[in-house]
Amino acid sequence: MALMLSAAPAAAVPPTSSVSDAIMCQCGCGAVLTNCPHQECGWGVPAKLFIAQQLANGKTPEELVQYYVSQYGEQALSAPTKRGFNVAAWVTPFVVMVVGGVAIYFLARLWARPSEDDPAAIGDGVPALAIDSSRLRRLEDELRKFD
């Protein structure tokens, strides 16, 4: 696997997707330019050709992305910027996960029995299936009775 993956050489010109992944197609399909489902898209096909030409001419992906933002506004970007209110888009999922994690930690602590050496507890840390052979034999016998 590693041999196969490491075979990728560095490309001199950035691929078209370095720009087309970052901007939305403006044909109204609602998809990222790369994924526009209209194969003969009146906006997307010329845009991809333009991007390929500009990259070949030495423009950087950042410059081209900026060009589209200047033309169509921030909405042209396929993801919110990491500035201002948009930070909320990026941070909120992690905040929710962390808060949820802390809540679960305290809930699990609260719910855990205070006595850690409760004799009723089985499974001394070994996964449930790795039970000793006498128990397994008993289990087998019982199951055989059911059969």
């Binding site: 696997m1 590693a2 041999l3 196969m4 993956l5 990728a8 050489p9 490309a11 691929p15 078209t16 997707s17 399909c29 609602g30 998809a31 990222v32 790369t34 994924n35 526009c36 489902p37 194969q39 003969e40 096909v45 909405q75 042209a76 970007l77 396929s78 993801a79 919110p80 910027t81 209110f85 888009a89 990026w90 999922p93 992690f94 929710v96 996960m97 949820g100 994690g101 679960i104 809930l107 699990a108 719910w111 855990a112 850690e116 409760d118 507890a121 089985i122 499974g123 001394d124 840390g125 070994v126 996964p127 449930a128 299936l129 790795a130 397994l136 087998e140 199951l143 059911f146 059969d147």
Partner: protein
């Protein structure tokens, strides 16, 4: 036949309306005649919707172009195979499919429970018939949703034909399996509501619906995987998942459904999380309706949407009604749902399941947040923003990696109580495998791709932990039963289908994520214009344009290029990317070709060609490991099937357990 179909739908409306009320009367009065009649209504509803479906299929296959739906989605040139898929190519047909599946599912539920769950069943069928009534009403009363609407005047000589992007085997199976999954979640939801109404809030409803939930989950898994495969081989952009709002909508109930499948185990084993399980199934079902709303609301543009439709407000209203009524019912029963909430130990499998639920629900929240953020942003700042794939890729990747870690950790922690010493012992081998994998990957020079290194290492860790579980169990069986190790593995799995089926699903998830990591992290692409005899190079692959063949059929013109593909000078054979032009629809279409191995796909797209000069504009992608995504999907489904395979011993064990529990309760 159109009249027959429409009449059957009208009857379905009446029957479902009766089916909503009759079971409640039966339950309140205790009269057996009402109960029998209500159950017969469910069978009659199923029959009516099946008759309507057969009528539509007949109209499609006989090319009855007087039927507006048939004229819109078929043509004389369409093969019978894709004519069948035209059934669900449009809004009306897909709604009929939904209703018919719900009718069949409901009939099966009634039959299965003819001698059990008698107290809860009337409310279950009433809930299912309410959903059926909603969909039947839409089919018969909403403009554009009647599959039997006729064209005024003389029928056209030929139909418009199917959209070429739907002419793919994936599109025959993707909608059906997705709907089988969506509709399947109605059953556990209805049982949950029945349990709340009747105040039978033990785990009976969970045990009764466990197989239904897994069946729904399996179908939704198949639906999502086949949908991804269809996008990959049809849409021609070299990928399979675009975080399209509708893709997200079908992923959401899968995530919450997966969380539900895990958390019900805690209720079964510890009598805990009762409220949480009901919340999960309410939202899972609501999310299936949300997905249907998205495709029909017209509020989003998507390859999945059925265009402009006036159904949005109806679905939104129905969704609101579901949430208000079910959550209200849940709140009214909170006192009865109070659990003992007692864990034997903080460090236990139960605790790890809480973490697993947090991550799965957190992923669902993240997706929903991404879908809703543009609306929130515009409301708060007045700025319109787009939340597309880069957002989901960046936010979901770390969360997904944590989920993968937890997938490996869970089987290593004992139920009820684990100690750090044993945990260390159980972790040792899988962790070592993970670390060795990471070191090997860095040594092979892919250390720059940090997420890929983490992902592949975690994959190795999870596979090792599952292998350890299988290995330990098989060794015990070998010693006990005197079986050879292969047979011991088989009988171990067969005797504990639920547990080991689940582990097989975990392996499937890992294989799928290996495919995702490889194809996302190491994709290479190149676009180039070529004349005959010229070559292009992408990574270690050289593709030589050999020739172009042009021909016409009655419905399209076809340009078929021939490419010779070599890898490091070694001949891999010929590939034939195709460019078509559909006369009637005035639509060009690309049919990709690919050379697929377990290591990578060479993916060829003929973007354009000139019949005069023979020049072609080609895009070639090298997608490493993408085959593992499909293999992972298949393994997940196999694991799911193993987990639900009927087992007499399981039933007897459960029966004995509940009998014991009942005796204890009496004491």
């Amino acid at each position: 036949m159109n009249q027959v179909g429409y009449t059957a739908l009208l009857l379905a409306v009446l029957i479902s309306a009766y089916g909503v009320v009759a079971p409640v009367v039966a339950a309140r009065t205790g009269q057996k005649e009402w109960a029998r009649s209500a159950e017969n209504a469910c069978y009659a509803f199923a029959a009516a919707t099946v008759i309507a479906s057969v009528a539509l299929l007949y109209a499609l296959l006989t090319r009855d172009f007087g039927n507006e739906y048939v004229a819109s989605y078929t043509s004389l040139e369409l093969t019978w195979f894709y004519t069948i898929s035209a059934f669900w190519a449009g809004n009306a047909g897909s709604m009929l499919l939904w209703v018919a599946l719900l009718g069949i599912y409901t009939a099966i539920v009634v039959y299965q429970n003819r001698r059990k769950n008698r107290e809860i069943l009337p409310y279950v069928t009433s809930v299912l018939m309410t959903v059926s009534l909603f969909f039947s009403l839409i089919l018969t009363t909403s403009h554009g949703s009647n599959p039997f609407a006729m064209i005024p005047g003389a029928p056209p000589a030929n139909g418009a034909g199917l959209n070429p992007m739907l002419e793919n085997p994936g599109m025959v199976f993707h909608p059906v399996t997705t709907y089988l999954g969506y509709v399947g979640f109605s059953i556990p939801f209805a049982f949950a509501m029945g349990a709340l109404i009747t105040k039978r809030l033990g785990d009976q409803w969970i045990r009764t619906t466990r197989r239904w939930t897994i069946v729904a989950w399996i179908f939704l898994t198949i639906g999502n995987i086949v949908g991804a495969w269809w996008a990959y081989v049809t849409l021609g952009w070299g990928g399979y998942w675009a975080w399209d709002p509708v893709e997200n909508a079908s992923f959401l109930p899968w995530l919450t459904g997966t969380a539900f499948l895990h958390s019900v185990m805690i209720q079964e084993k510890k009598d805990m999380l009762k409220v949480w399980n009901i919340v999960l199934i309410i939202f899972t079902f609501a999310l299936t309706i949300f997905g249907t709303f998205l495709t029909r609301s017209g509020i989003i543009s998507s390859v999945h949407s059925f265009g402009q439709s006036s159904l949005g407000p109806f679905f939104l209203g129905f969704l609101g009604l579901i949430l208000i009524l079910s959550l209200n019912l849940l709140f009214s029963r909170l006192e009865l749902l109070r659990s003992r909430n007692e864990l034997d130990s903080f460090l236990s499998r139960e605790s790890s399941f809480l973490l697993n639920n947090l991550i799965l629900v957190g992923m669902a929240f993240t997706i929903l947040w991404g879908v809703l953020f543009p609306i929130i942003s515009e409301a708060v700042t007045g700025n319109k923003v787009t939340v597309g794939p880069p957002f989901f890729d960046q936010v979901m990747t770390p969360i997904g990696l944590v989920l993968m870690f937890v997938t490996g950790v869970c089987p290593l922690i004992a139920w009820r109580r684990a100690t750090f010493a044993n945990l260390r012992k159980n972790f040792m081998y899988p962790a070592a495998v993970g670390v060795v994998t990471a070191i090997a990957l860095v040594a092979f020079g892919i250390g720059d791709h940090i997420y890929a290194v983490i992902s592949f290492s975690l994959a190795a860790f999870v596979v090792a932990s599952v292998a350890l579980e299988f290995g330990r169990g098989a060794l015990v069986r070998r010693d006990m039963a005197g079986e050879n190790i292969v047979r011991a593995l088989g009988s171990l799995t067969w005797r504990n289908k639920r547990r080991y089926g689940g582990y097989i699903v975990h392996v499937g998830v890992v294989l799928l994520l290996i495919g995702v990591t490889g194809s996302y992290g190491f994709k290479q692409e190149q676009t180039q214009t070529l004349t005959e005899g010229q070559s292009m190079t992408v990574g270690s692959y050289e593709l030589t344009y050999v020739s172009m063949e042009n021909y016409n059929t009655s419905e399209k013109s076809v340009g078929r290029a021939t490419f010779n593909v070599k890898e490091n000078g070694r001949d891999l054979g010929l590939a034939y990317p195709v460019r078509e032009y559909y006369f009637k629809k005035d639509q060009p279409w690309t049919r990709i070709d690919r050379q697929s191995t377990l290591g990578r796909d060479v993916y060829l797209m003929l973007l354009d060609y000139s019949p005069e000069t023979g020049q072609v504009n080609m895009e070639v992608n090298i997608n490493p490991l993408v085959s593992w995504l499909w293999i992972g999907g298949i393994v997940m489904v196999i694991g799911g099937i193993v987990a639900i395979w009927p087992d007499r011993r399981d039933s007897l064990r459960l029966a004995a357990r509940y009998e014991r529990q009942a005796r204890l309760d009496e004491i």
